[in-house]
């Protein structure tokens, strides 16, 4: 059986997330044709509920303080969870909320 083609996605965590993952930079191997959603679900599996509850507000919905950049562009502008990945650079950022006072 032919080996499944994969992509190597370089992921950088910023904001609150390095404190959770214990790492700033990792490389994730995913099947070719994977999407941003696939990557985020893969990260959820790796880091479990503490990651999931901080990052996702619901199925296929990110908390409003999450921002994900794919090769420097906001994931929202590239189709959201459906955005296709290559051997991409991905930044997953949990931003502090904007406050006053």
């Amino acid at each position: 059986m032919p080996e499944e083609a994969t992509i190597a996605v370089r992921v950088k965590f910023m904001g609150d997330l390095p404190a959770l993952t214990g790492q700033r930079n990792i490389v994730v191997q995913l099947p070719e044709g994977s999407t941003a959603g696939d990557l985020l679900y893969s990260l959820s599996k790796t880091y479990g509920d503490p990651f999931r509850c901080r990052v996702f507000s619901g199925p296929a919905t990110l908390h409003h303080y999450m921002v994900v950049f794919l090769d420097g562009k906001n994931m929202k502008e590239l189709g959201g969870f459906a955005a296709k990945l290559g051997n991409s650079d991905v930044e997953v950022v949990m931003l502090p909320m904007f406050e006053g006072g």
Binding site: M14, G15, D16, P18, A19, P50, S57, H63, P96, G100
Partner: protein, 858 residues
């Protein structure tokens, strides 16, 4: 010459720029002669302050020429840190200063959560830059706010019940304005120099102003009526007003509640919504055909609001339930004015009269036509802010006040309470949006930064953060207890500590927490602190490295304060934007904060990440985006951003010459209520879910917290000070109030502001004259002021204009730093009086209780 490199003008000239003496950011004209600022005036071209200024702004020139300014980097030579320790400052080069900071950052590079950013610099870009720097480094510990209470409830509440950042009474049209625990438009608040004139004009045309406050201060002095209230009892008062309106007078906006709120949603006996089995949407009883339908059912015509027969009908259908509105009406029936009189000290007949006046003034059913558009007209509103937030149950002290506006439909319509910066069309379109359960979920904001919101909230989980942020799923920031939890980590399973702090010139040690003893220990516990400084304040006394910081007259900022992006004047007022640029040159050897952060980021290896987050914050794209590998100077970044936002012809040079861009707002931007495609809450069903989730997490951690605040309907719950006075351990409650000429510690070292404070006895504490005489205390006496955590000396000013059980403490005084010789030894630090523990914070917002039991004696 490129715009970004244009030199500072040296001949005599009026130069437009932005004020920086508080968080507002008024438009200025600054007269500069031979490189020296000789006068500051309001810029009449700026639609926000319309040429007007406050005393703080006029005094700003004295901050620029403060002889005690820090102008070179310093390092401490005394390793022992404390409020009474002399750091033994030694002047050093920038190279040595930044080498040291970079080395310390590299030391914790692999464990970035040990890094704390105190980033409050609301005057300019510093706030956004410091946040971006902390996030790029990878720490969750980023303090976004200076205060342990200000904004902690109003922003999260406003984003889910109005759509914007803050709230403002529509002074253009309201006829009845009830201020509770705020001196709105008289002594404080965003866009102050605009709304102060609006307030004066509204009063002149006959608007009735009622002020409910323990202190009969600046706001009360302008009011038609001042109603003294015991601190921490605002919820009881508000719940009584709701009871009278809903149950005695039957005054409410039926149409608005049916179609624009969750009032008709059905709730079961467990307090949860009844939901459609397939779509999981909340259910509504449709009077039109007697059927139960999902809230988003297109056949829904006439939602039921209330009635026993509806309950019977629902029971008969096997769905025992009531509407949210019925739940509210039945709940507030527990708060008759006679019952709450014993809590608030407000006579029952007064409460009843105020409810009646408010309900009548709301003119439910009336409309107004503006620019050819017919809109609901509700010329009555309630406003509240810091005074009601700062309590152990601060969320529920405030929420029933917001409900008063909601039940009469006085939200985001002419005459009502307006949500600030909720919607706009310049330089791009933004507006609030609905989401979960058809409710307003995503507030509108000009910047793509996550707004604070208390709906639907986060999922609580075991904390990694030292401030326990994960255990406050509805709060928007969490620093209040950081000094306390940092030294008592074991109960929360936390095994590390903060090792490094980088802070703005804001005096967080004195202003961001309560009881100063654990705060001092916290600052002593950190291995390394680097701080920006204009002057050496108490926080800087703990610094290892001090980095000089420009005054606002020497800075570059694209963001010049809250008036542009978060709290502009509401209603039919123009959108405006200005930038700040130096009107005089930086003193030799000084550097802009942006340039310093860029160098540090580059040397730590996070410059590209910092730029990524700044590009996101300022929406810089394509040719305007900051590119990794290059150190951009501050001026070029501001120029770049101006061109990205407003076009190539509106670069930094354009703003240098013209000062401000001003664009009209249309009705859709000005009064968003009728255009909002989402319902507003009157019943906070999600509280039950969060309570359940928190109980599970806390149980797993072996913690027992009182979660009685997590309820869909507000109850009045006493603050510890209320109980202490009832018990007789103390006889007075101290509260804080604001002066129009003092904002935080910004002007404390300013000789002109100091003169104002001395001339007005601002450094004195206020005590009721009759109470003082019973204690043998005379006007001007020096007394002991004692709270459970602090005993200090204070001078007393006697007045009849304060609740007899209250001590009033204004400003942000009580400085001890030798670097502030004018401010040193004057006034009382209110925050230092406040016990800081879990019992003294609001479990929902983390606001610190700002009413504290005290004794006053000679």
């Amino acid at each position: 010459m490129p715009a970004a490199e244009a030199s500072v003008v040296t001949e005599a000239k009026w130069i437009p720029t932005a004020c920086g003496m508080c968080y507002v950011g008024c438009g200025l004209r600054v007269l500069v002669e031979d490189g020296v600022v000789v006068s500051i005036e309001g810029n009449p071209e700026n639609p926000q302050n319309r040429g007007r200024m406050c005393a703080k702004g006029k005094a700003g020139i004295m901050n620029l020429y403060n002889p005690n300014r820090v102008k070179v980097p310093l390092k401490r030579t005394n390793p022992k840190k404390g409020l009474e320790e002399d750091p033994g400052w030694q002047e050093i080069s920038w190279d040595e200063a930044l080498d040291t900071v970079v080395a310390e950052l590299n030391r914790i590079r692999d464990d970035p959560k040990k890094f704390l950013i105190q980033g409050w610099d609301a005057v300019g870009d510093g706030m956004f830059w410091m946040k971006a720097f902390g996030s790029a480094f990878g720490t969750p510990h980023i303090m976004n706010a200076a205060s342990p209470t200000c904004g902690k409830v109003v922003h999260p509440v406003e984003f889910f019940s109005g759509g914007g950042f803050h709230q403002q009474p529509d002074l253009h049209y309201t006829n009845y304005c009830l201020l509770v625990g705020t001196q709105f438009a008289i002594s404080a608040r965003g866009s102050y120099n605009h709304i102060a004139l609006d307030m004066a004009e509204a009063r002149a045309r006959g608007m009735k102003l009622v002020v409910v406050d323990p202190i009969g201060g600046f706001a009360a002095s302008k009011a038609n009526e001042w109603i003294p209230i015991l601190p921490g009892t605002d919820a009881a008062f508000a719940l009584s007003l709701l009871h009278v309106l809903l149950n005695e007078l039957g005054v409410y906006d039926e149409k608005f509640l049916k179609h624009k709120t969750n009032a008709p949603y059905l709730v079961g006996e467990d307090g949860r919504y009844l939901r459609d089995e397939t779509t999981h949407q909340p259910l509504i009883f449709d009077l039109a055909d007697g059927k139960i339908k999902a809230q988003d059912d297109p056949t829904l015509v006439n939602p039921t609001l209330r009635g026993d027969w509806v309950k019977d009908a629902l029971r008969a259908q096997g769905k025992p339930s009531r509407t949210c509105f019925d739940a509210l009406c039945e709940h507030v029936a527990n708060y008759s004015p006679e019952r709450t009189e014993a809590i608030t000290t407000i006579p029952a007949e007064t409460t009843r009269r105020i409810a009646k006046e408010f309900g009548e003034a709301a003119s439910i059913g009336s409309t107004i036509t503006l620019e050819g558009v017919e809109l609901p007209f509700r010329p009555a509103c309630v406003d509240w802010a810091k005074g009601t937030q700062g309590h152990a149950h601060g969320f529920h002290q405030c929420w029933p006040l917001k409900l008063l506006n909601l039940v009469v439909g006085s939200v985001n319509v002419p005459g009502g309470i307006l949500s600030t910066a909720a919607s706009g069309k310049h330089p791009h379109q933004w507006s609030p949006e609905g989401g979960t359960d058809g409710m307003l979920e995503d507030g509108g904001h000009i910047l793509p930064l996550p707004h604070p919101k208390a709906f639907p909230g986060r999922t609580p989980t075991t904390p990694i953060r030292l401030d326990l942020g994960e255990l406050f799923p509805l709060a928007s920031h969490f620093h209040t207890l950081l000094p306390v939890t940092s030294e008592d980590r074991a109960p929360y399973g936390l095994t590390y500590g903060i090792e490094m702090l980088l802070h703005t010139p804001t005096n967080s040690l004195m202003g961001s927490f309560g009881d100063i003893k654990p705060v001092e220990r916290f600052y002593q516990s950190m291995k390394f602190i680097a701080g920006f400084a204009v002057e050496i304040n108490e926080t800087n006394l703990f610094d290892d490295i001090v980095l000089p910081f420009p005054t606002y007259l020497e800075r570059y900022d694209f963001n010049t304060g809250s008036a542009a992006h978060s709290i502009p004047p509401c209603g039919q007022e123009a959108f405006h934007w200005q930038v700040r640029h130096p009107v005089v040159e930086l003193p030799p050897g000084m550097r802009h904060q942006q340039d310093v952060l860029v160098e540090i980021a580059d040397r730590v290896g996070i410059l590209g990440d910092l730029y990524r987050l700044l590009n996101h914050t300022y929406m810089l794209k394509d040719g305007y985006a900051l590119q990794p590998g290059r150190r951009y100077p501050a001026a070029e970044i501001v120029d770049n951003t101006a061109r990205q936002w407003f076009g190539e012809d509106h670069n930094l040079d354009w703003f240098r010459e013209h000062g401000v861009i001003s664009l009209p707002r249309d009705i859709e931007e000005s009064y968003i209520g009728p255009y909002l495609k989402a319902r507003l809450p009157i019943y906070l069903e999600h509280m039950l879910q969060k309570k359940e989730e928190l109980q599970e997490v806390l149980g797993r951690m072996g913690l027992e917290w009182n979660l009685s605040d997590y309820n869909p309907l507000s109850d009045w719950m006493p603050c510890p000070s209320f109980n202490a006075v009832q018990k007789g351990d103390y006889d007075l409650i101290a509260v804080h109030f604001k002066f129009p000429y003092v904002y935080g510690g910004y002007g404390n070292e300013n000789p002109w502001v100091n003169e104002l404070c001395e001339q007005t006895d601002a450094y004195h504490i206020l005590l009721n004259e009759t109470v003082a005489h019973s204690k043998g205390i005379a006007d001007g006496d020096t007394v002991w002021l004692q709270s459970p955590v602090r005993k200090c000396r204070a001078k007393v000013k006697l007045t009849q204009c304060i609740h007899p059980r209250v001590v009033g403490i204004g400003g942000h005084f009580g400085h001890t730093s030798p670097g502030m010789p004018i401010a040193k030894g004057k006034g009382v630090s209110f925050n230092a009086l406040l016990p800081s523990d879990l019992d003294h914070i609001d479990k929902i917002s983390t606001a610190l209780d700002h009413c504290v039991e005290v004794k006053v004696f000679k």
